[in-house]
């Protein structure tokens, strides 16, 4: 004869109801936190994937700040180049005036003084600082990009190239321009041309008007070089924008995958919780009915 012993009856109900309750609690925790995984062993593969995705998210945030920094440095470089262009156009105007044979020596000397002033401005522009306080056109140098030697010539003392900034996923962008990249042309540089012109107009040349006419050709080339480099900067800014856009899209994909892999499917979880609660209530009710059923109550 098999009969259910009384303690086995209570034990079994106890076991059933506590397992139902713990299942309901796990579902409630998943709904409350929005995370399906409370520890790695809940789903080791998904947990590992979540770690990788979280890591990529962290790096993407750094990439974003690097891109912002590169972008602001390149914009600074661009506006500095604009100032160079403006100054250079002024020098061109002055040179055109000076090329006129009718000007007197004193008038040319006046023009020379203004060109010298502009030359100093150009040097200061070339030593512009970037957002971190380093030389914008000095490559990776710690100090200034240009300095004046004993004879008053501007000499480049920066490094030969600017370093690249990583943009994430193996992409990178060169953070800026070095001075020689946009100031050197045809074996000379802009400072030398401007200083030569100023010196010639100040009386250093036998035929200052001819010297001014010669300088005009060089100034044209210089202007052209700067404009070309502005295009380069524009292209780099575009490249950064392109990367930022791609990063945003990748971030959306990652967020989607994180929700798929580690998030709680609310609809499913709520309906499972409802089901568990229904079963729990039913078994509590049946327990109450069965446990009140004792033969002793009927024996009088």
């Amino acid at each position: 004869m098999t009969s259910v012993s009384t303690s086995a009856f209570y034990d079994r109900f106890n076991l059933d109801m506590s397992s139902l309750r713990s299942r309901a609690e796990a579902l409630q925790a998943a709904i409350g936190s929005g995370n399906r995984l409370t520890r790695s062993s809940d789903d080791p593969v998904a947990a590992s994937r979540m770690r990788t995705l979280g890591r990529a998210d962290a790096f993407a945030a750094v990439d974003l700040s690097i891109a912002a920094r590169a972008s602001s440095d390149l914009t600074l470089a661009d506006s500095a180049l604009m100032s160079f262009t403006d100054s250079l156009i002024r020098v061109q105007e002055l040179a055109t005036q000076a090329a006129n044979d009718v000007l007197s020596a004193s008038q040319r000397a006046g023009i020379a003084t203004e060109i010298e002033q502009i030359s100093g401005e150009l040097l200061r522009l070339a030593n512009t600082r970037d957002s971190a306080g380093h030389a914008l056109f000095g490559g990776d140098t710690a100090g200034d990009a240009y300095t004046l030697d004993g004879a008053g010539n501007a000499v480049y003392i920066g490094t030969s190239s600017a370093s690249d900034l990583p943009l994430g996923d193996g992409q990178s962008v060169t953070r800026g321009l070095t001075g020689p990249e946009f100031l050197n042309f045809g074996g000379t540089n802009l400072f030398a041309v401007v200083k030569g012109l100023a010196d010639a107009l100040a009386g250093g040349a036998a035929d200052p008007a001819q010297a001014a006419r010669d300088a005009l050709g060089s100034l044209d080339t210089g202007l052209e070089t700067i404009t070309t480099q502005q295009t380069v900067i524009g292209t780099r800014l575009n490249w950064i924008d392109l990367n930022t856009e791609r990063r945003t899209q990748m971030g959306e994909l990652r967020a989607q995958e994180e929700a798929d892999v580690g998030g709680t499917d609310l609809g499913e979880a709520v309906s499972q919780l409802q089901q568990t609660m229904t079963v729990l209530e039913a078994s509590q009710a049946s327990f109450a009915r069965l446990s009140s059923l004792s033969l002793f109550d009927f024996l009088r």
Binding site: S5, R39, V45, A142
Partner: protein, 445 residues
Amino acid sequence: MATDLLTIAASGVRAARVALDVTAHNIANAGTSGYVRRSVQLSELASASGFGQVGDLSFSGVRIEGMVRNADAFRQAEVRRTGADAARAGTELTAYQNVEAALEQSGLFPAMTGLEEALQQLSIDPVDPSLRTATLEQARTLARTFNLAEQGLTTVADGLHFAATDGVDQVNRLSAELARTNLQLARSTPGTADHVLLLDQRDGLLGQISGYADIATSFRPDQTVTVRIGGTSGPQLVAGGTVDPLSLTVAGDGTLSFSNGTGSVTLSGGSLAGQAQGLVLVRDSRVGLDAIAASLIASANGAQAAGVALDGTPGQPLFSGTTAADIAASLTSGAGIATAPAGASAGSRDPAGLAALRSALSSADISGQIDGLLFQVSSATQGRATTADALEAIAGAAQLALDQQAGVNLDEEAVNLVRFQQAFQASSKAIQIASDLFDTLLAIR
């Protein structure tokens, strides 16, 4: 002696009385764990009334044979076997979960990502003192996280050692008690309440021992038990009144081995086996963690040595130590991080050294190794959880099967109460009739 109605009725009353006592005892012990339902075995008492009077049967009523204990030895053995398996799996699972928590909650993976993030951030401006300090602090956090994970593992191992030592003590205490019970059993008379109580005690002790270690039992005719530990081929733990106590040895790497006077013991069930297996995982995790720490130290320090620090001097080691327990950030200031390549001047912004450091860390795949360790432990834990659930269910079913057969059912006892009460009343009636008959005889004048 002729049939004596009064004696017969008196024996009936006595039997019903004892049966009622036993029923009440069963009801009183309905909730006692390990209590096996008792019943009274009765037999008829009849004999020839005297020599040569074969045809003349005389009835003498009922005799109480003894107490019967409704225990099924097979089901009890099943409960012990499945209980030992479930205890092993449960203990093992707890140990695995603790190791998992020690590794995961130390935040090893996020800390490694944090260091790589800081290095990436540093590439914006390698000479920025605040970025350098932030990077060094991340390195320090990572080193401390390794220390923390290692401490977590040590705590898990300490807990397991403590529990295992206690388990061995318990096995020896229970064995000594079992040996005493054996001696008492050999002396007591079968069928008496005392004997039945000793049998309950014996089975209870066997059940408790099997929670700690897997045992094989063999019962002698006098109901004393011989216990072998570690399965049927293991050494004897208890034989009659003698105990060969179990002892525990902790190896240098923290793993456990068991032995007793006869020789070494291999446990495959019980919480002691679970603790031994948990300690094997702790050892393996520790080896894995140390290997990752060593690879981090080697790759970071190698890259540091190849570059130059902010002041133009050769880079000094970023980490000191050799294992997860003693790894520490050894640079005193962020300026010591070798972001520039060899030969660079002081204050150089050249990030080639930094790039080399980052690529050294990524080619050593430290975060991949950490992820691998976490994955290994967590998938092992998941597997153990499934096994533990299954074994728990099997043990529960075996316990239920034993309870159904050996436990007390209150409804059944209620019926018995009524039945024996009626028997008592009927026998009392028989006494009254005997008395009436006697009075009738006396009334003849």
